[in-house]
């Protein structure tokens, strides 16, 4: 490996589950501040890639570097502490708690040297949470139990929790899945607005090509565990292989 200015870099990643190849010689580097979307049909290896970056799965071979440090063998907690946060396709939020309390937990986990005798609901914690709430337009849901909230709001909260710790890289696993078509764009707008505040690198998995076009500069296309295209958005979406295997816009060929 050579030192370079990639913030995150995967080198020669292979991973298989039994007979299924989920990652085949993945090499990709991502620079600070990039907005990258990962596309590919179900089972193409996008989520596996995300799970390997965040330490939930270990690659069979290959290494992952973050800020030129090898993070391949680290667990999700340590990787999160180093500055890579993620959201989930199915929001992983604390169901019996309110939106406010969920963010309070997220805030608490991001702080060091906790006092065991100081109330978590302190003034400075409250102020920060209120700020996060307005950034994600969640104010009206602040004190409602999250198990009762609509899908889009749950997604927003899930992302907001990942952002509380002010990560360098944020991975979003299908931020608009499971949300109605008419809700998708307002939701993505809210997310984009909330993320634009910091100098943040965002990698997201997305199936909706309009969203991919509107919200990312760079696209990485996966097919059967391999990267088949990696370039700026327009080029990738016009790529023949991508059209055939990913976006499904196959040109009708004369026979």
């Amino acid at each position: 490996m050579s030192k370079n200015n990639d913030l995150l870099r995967a080198e020669g990643i292979n991973k298989s589950f039994g007979a299924v190849t989920a990652a085949k010689d993945i090499n990709v580097g991502i620079k600070k501040g990039e907005r990258v979307s990962l596309i590919g049909s179900n089972g193409a290896g996008k989520t596996t890639f995300m799970n390997m970056v965040t330490g939930y799965l270990k690659p069979d071979t290959g290494n992952i570097f973050f800020k030129n440090e090898n993070i391949t063998s680290l667990n999700p907690r340590v990787i999160t502490q180093k500055g890579i946060s993620r959201s989930f396709q199915i929001p992983q939020i604390f169901e019996p708690m309110s939106t406010w309390e969920n963010l309070l937990v997220a805030l608490g986990t991001s702080q060091k040297n906790h006092s065991y005798f100081k109330n978590a609901r302190s003034k400075e914690n409250s102020d920060y949470i209120d700020e996060m709430l307005s950034r994600f337009s969640l104010n009206e849901f602040a004190h409602r139990q999250v198990s009762e909230l609509p899908g889009g709001v749950r997604k927003l909260l899930d992302i907001a929790m990942a952002l509380v710790r002010k990560p360098d890289i944020l991975l979003l696993d299908e931020p608009t899945s499971g949300v109605g078509a008419e809700e998708k764009y307002p939701l993505m707008d809210t997310i984009a607005k909330a993320l634009s505040v910091e100098d943040l690198t965002v990698i997201f998995v997305e199936h909706d090509m309009d969203i991919v076009q509107n919200y990312s500069e760079r696209v990485v296309a996966f097919y059967q565990g391999e990267i088949i295209a990696d370039d700026n958005c327009d080029k990738v979406l016009k790529d023949k292989n991508v059209q055939e295997y990913v976006t499904g816009k196959t040109q009708v060929k004369a026979k």
């Binding site: 965040t54 667990n75 999700p76 907690r77 999160t80 502490q81 946060s85 993620r86 989930f88 992983q92 939020i93 604390f94 169901e95 019996p96 708690m97 309390e101 309070l104 937990v105 997220a106 608490g108 986990t109 991001s110 702080q111 906790h114 006092s115 065991y116 005798f117 100081k118 109330n119 978590a120 609901r121 929790m161 990942a162 509380v164 710790r165």
Partner: protein, 318 residues
């Protein structure tokens, strides 16, 4: 009274403690004894609800109950230490320390496996204790009478003295525990209960939460065991038996994990049911206990604590 005062934990505790101490003068001796035993059991229960807040239930708290009891007993018989306050305190610290040592072994496991491994620990201890004849084997041994700051109370006041001491010490411990519950680590423990994976992905360690909670639960269980031993004046391996552990789990399920005082109320209920059915239906007290247990799980699934919480939330919203 102002809602703020009612919600103040120091006010609540001091009010409750003084009330109990005054009431103790007027109630019969057997009830003083029953309440003291309920406090002992409640302390163990408080440990289990601390674990429950982090998503774990130990089915083997007899382990720490026994260690606490035997610590107090052996210090009394072997080292001549009879000061009840010191014995309770040392048992708390020592058992907490034992808990800290075995916690990393247990903290890797969840659900039924955690429950069963903790049970296995208690049964191993039981197996050892019944074999050591030097400390009475399965008969156990008698503890020397307790003293308080060097003074031995006359027999008719001995129970009351222990009652007062246990109320004050338990009150202090409960306040500390309540502070922990409301702190940031206490909140993270509740999050671990709901979704451990997410807590790890937020950057906190579920393992550390489990270790801390188990250590606290061990300390509390040890103090409860010491208090129970001192109150009975006798200790035997039954302290560590699985049926004893079952009673502790029952107390914590009956109380729920939402409220600290609820756990002592649940323990008192158990002790009252036990002593009444023991007195009036000596052959069927297990049957009554079992039916009581099933009914309370059916009708109060989230525990007595849920009523407490509703009550105090009323004041908060004003």
């Amino acid at each position: 009274m102002s809602p703020k005062l009612i919600n103040n934990i120091f006010f609540q505790s001091i009010f409750l403690m003084s009330l109990l101490i005054v009431v103790g003068i007027f109630i019969p001796n057997w009830l003083v004894f029953v309440i003291t035993k309920a406090i002992a059991y409640g302390l163990v229960g408080l440990g289990i609800i601390t674990l429950m807040r982090g998503g774990l239930v130990s089915f083997g708290q007899g382990f720490v109950f026994g260690i606490g009891g035997y610590t107090a007993g052996l210090l009394g018989t072997q080292a001549g230490l009879t000061d009840a306050i010191l014995l309770l305190f040392i048992s708390f610290i020592f058992t907490g320390f034992v808990g800290l040592i075995i916690a990393p072994l247990l903290a890797r496991y969840r659900d039924i496996f955690f429950a069963m491994l903790s049970l296995a620990f208690s049964m191993v201890l039981y197996g050892i204790l019944i074999k050591i004849d030097a400390i009475g084997g399965s008969d156990g041994f008698v503890l020397p009478e307790s003293t308080y700051f060097g003074i031995k109370p006359s027999p008719e006041y001995a129970d009351y003295m222990l009652y007062v001491v246990s109320i004050i010490m338990t009150g202090i411990v409960s306040i500390i525990i309540k502070y922990y519950y409301d702190s940031t680590p206490g909140l993270i423990a509740l999050a671990v209960r709901e979704n451990e994976l997410r807590v790890e992905y937020l950057g906190s360690s579920a393992f550390n939460v489990a270790v801390l909670n188990f250590t606290i639960a061990a300390g509390l269980g040890g103090m409860g065991g010491a208090l129970n031993g001192i109150a009975l004046g006798h200790i035997d391996p039954e302290f560590t038996y699985w049926t004893t552990s079952g009673e502790f789990v029952f107390i914590s399920i009956l109380a729920g994990y939402l409220s600290v005082p609820a756990v002592f109320l649940a323990a008192l209920l158990l002790e009252l049911v036990r002593s009444f059915s023991g007195r009036y239906f000596p052959d069927t007290w297990q049957l009554i206990l079992g039916v009581f247990l099933i009914l309370s799980i059916i009708f109060i699934p989230s525990g007595i604590g849920s009523f407490f919480k509703k009550f105090f939330d009323k004041f908060k919203n004003k």
